[in-house]
Amino acid sequence: MSEIKKDLKYTEEHEWVLKDGETMLIGITDHAQDSLGEIVYLELPTVGSSLEKSSTFGAVESTKSVSDLFTPLDCEVIEVNSEAENAPELINQSPYGDGWLIKVKASDEADFNNLLSPEDYESLINE
């Protein structure tokens, strides 16, 4: 069974969002990394770029497949996880921890509340 953390919000595209004061951390879920298999490359946006909700902000590549990363809410990138870019296996090993992808500042913090709850995400992946 894939792990779903209670203190996070989720998207239908299998990203998670952690609200930490004024900033938010974004990554892919345990379910997503497990479906992809060993991740070998990671493409992330540059710091400072503005992202529009639902647009792609990068991609994760495993041997077998590639998966686009979708922006959960309108935001600006303030940090990217360069360690994970150099060692993408971190995403497999620790999708909710060291394998985070980007740190952003949301244009409207209220958008966070519209994301999926852990319960909604759980029913989504069990469909």
């Binding site: 479906s35 298999g37 060993e38 070998v40 490359y41 493409e43 792609t56 991609a59 590549e61 495993s62 041997t63 077998k64 590639v66 686009d68």
Partner: protein, 369 residues
């Protein structure tokens, strides 16, 4: 979705499944990379029961294959096999198959899962002038492939009565050991006799064997192998694909697509062009003269993976598409094959469009390892 008789066993072994041509097949068990590397240095077992088996039998079976198959079958000794193509009149590949000569009278074909019906139909359509029977045995046979440098060691110990050590590559024979122990239990015997076949063939580039086993006893055979050969690990279709790409082997549907002929993929050695006539020959000769495409191997310079369908550019001009691409678990780099305009320049880098960006790749010879 269709499942093989090993489906429940795969579930217990922790398989992650994928839909392949309507079959629910294992993509990997623990890890695609581990399975890949284990096959390269030791051995693994693949469930390839989705593949089809067709037998051509009758007085004219050899003449029939001479008319329909691109490679030369006459002169092929009993028990030996040849790889080649069934092409239509346009030279387009209906399927790439291995033809095993069982006894000069019966020929056993291993065909791709997605093409079983079209091959059967096409063969039947061409039987008019020949005294042959085309028997589709795909529902009767399951198939497992044991691949890797150590597979001979394990299987010759497991099947001592079959003298596998003396078996040359690209041959087929009856697996005596299974016949002796399991024939009595078969509820529905093989339409062509209780012959469980073993071939020294495969799709990984390593030494190995393919076992054609009645579905009814496939899980008994599979579990017997896994229980008695601790170093043979279950492998999924994921590593089967990366292993074949590292060797530069074509996959029908990725390579060998409509609008092309086998000669477009450097596969001329499997086309017996000296033969007076076979279906598709004229179209293939025209295509060779036209020399439209080059089939090349490439290795990514940038850290990226080019996959099937991606566009390839040179000097900002679109010159072709990737046919198969992956991350090579052995080289730890993106590799692939591509069909490009024959006027391309082999000493200049290629630019492959990966999502929104162009990534550099260089042409290399395959096999890649």
């Amino acid at each position: 979705m269709k499942t093989t008789p090993l489906y429940e066993t795969h579930k217990i072994n922790g398989a992650k499944f994928t839909n392949f041509n309507g079959w629910d097949m294992p993509l990997w068990f623990s890890s695609l990379e581990n399975e890949h590397l284990h096959v390269r240095k030791d051995s693994g077992i693949f469930d390839v029961s989705h593949m089809g088996e067709i037998e051509i039998e009758g007085k004219d079976s050899l003449a029939f294959l001479e008319k329909t198959f691109t490679n030369k079958v006459s002169g092929l000794k009993n028990g030996y096999a040849k790889y080649g193509f069934f092409c239509n009149n346009d030279g387009y590949v209906i399927d790439d198959v291995i033809v095993y000569n069982l006894d000069g009278y019966r020929f056993f074909l291993c065909v791709n899962a997605g093409n079983i019906d079209s091959v059967e139909k096409w063969l039947l359509h061409n039987t008019n002038d020949f005294d042959v029977k085309v028997k589709n045995l795909s529902n009767f046979y399951g198939q497992v492939a044991i691949q890797g440098p150590n597979s001979i060691k394990y299987l010759s110990t497991l099947y001592p009565n079959s003298n596998l050590n003396d078996m040359p590559k690209y041959t087929i024979k009856i697996l005596e050991d299974l016949d002796n122990t399991l024939t009595a239990n078969l509820k529905s015997p093989c339409p062509n006799g209780n012959n469980f076949l073993i071939a020294r063939t495969g799709y990984t580039g390593e030494d190995g064997f393919e076992l054609f086993v009645p579905n009814e006893i496939l899980s008994t055979v599979y579990e017997h192998i896994l229980t008695n050969c601790a170093n043979i690990i279950p492998c999924g279709l994921g590593s089967r694909d990366t292993l074949r790409i590292e060797m530069g082997f074509p996959l029908h549907g990725n390579e060998l697509i409509e609008g092309t002929t086998p000669s477009d993929y450097n596969l001329d050695r499997f086309i017996d062009i000296d033969r007076e006539e076979f279906i598709g020959k004229d179209a293939i000769i025209n295509k060779i003269e036209k020399n439209e495409f080059s089939f090349i191997g490439f290795k990514m310079i940038d850290n990226s993976i080019a996959r099937s369908g991606y566009e390839i550019y040179q000097d900002e001009k679109l010159i072709g598409n990737v046919t198969s691409g992956t991350f090579s678990p052995l080289l730890k780099k993106g590799i692939g094959m591509a069909l490009v305009d024959s006027n391309f320049s082999s000493n200049k880098n290629l630019q492959i469009k990966i999502r929104k960006n162009f990534k550099d790749a260089k042409m290399v010879n395959y096999p890649f390892i």
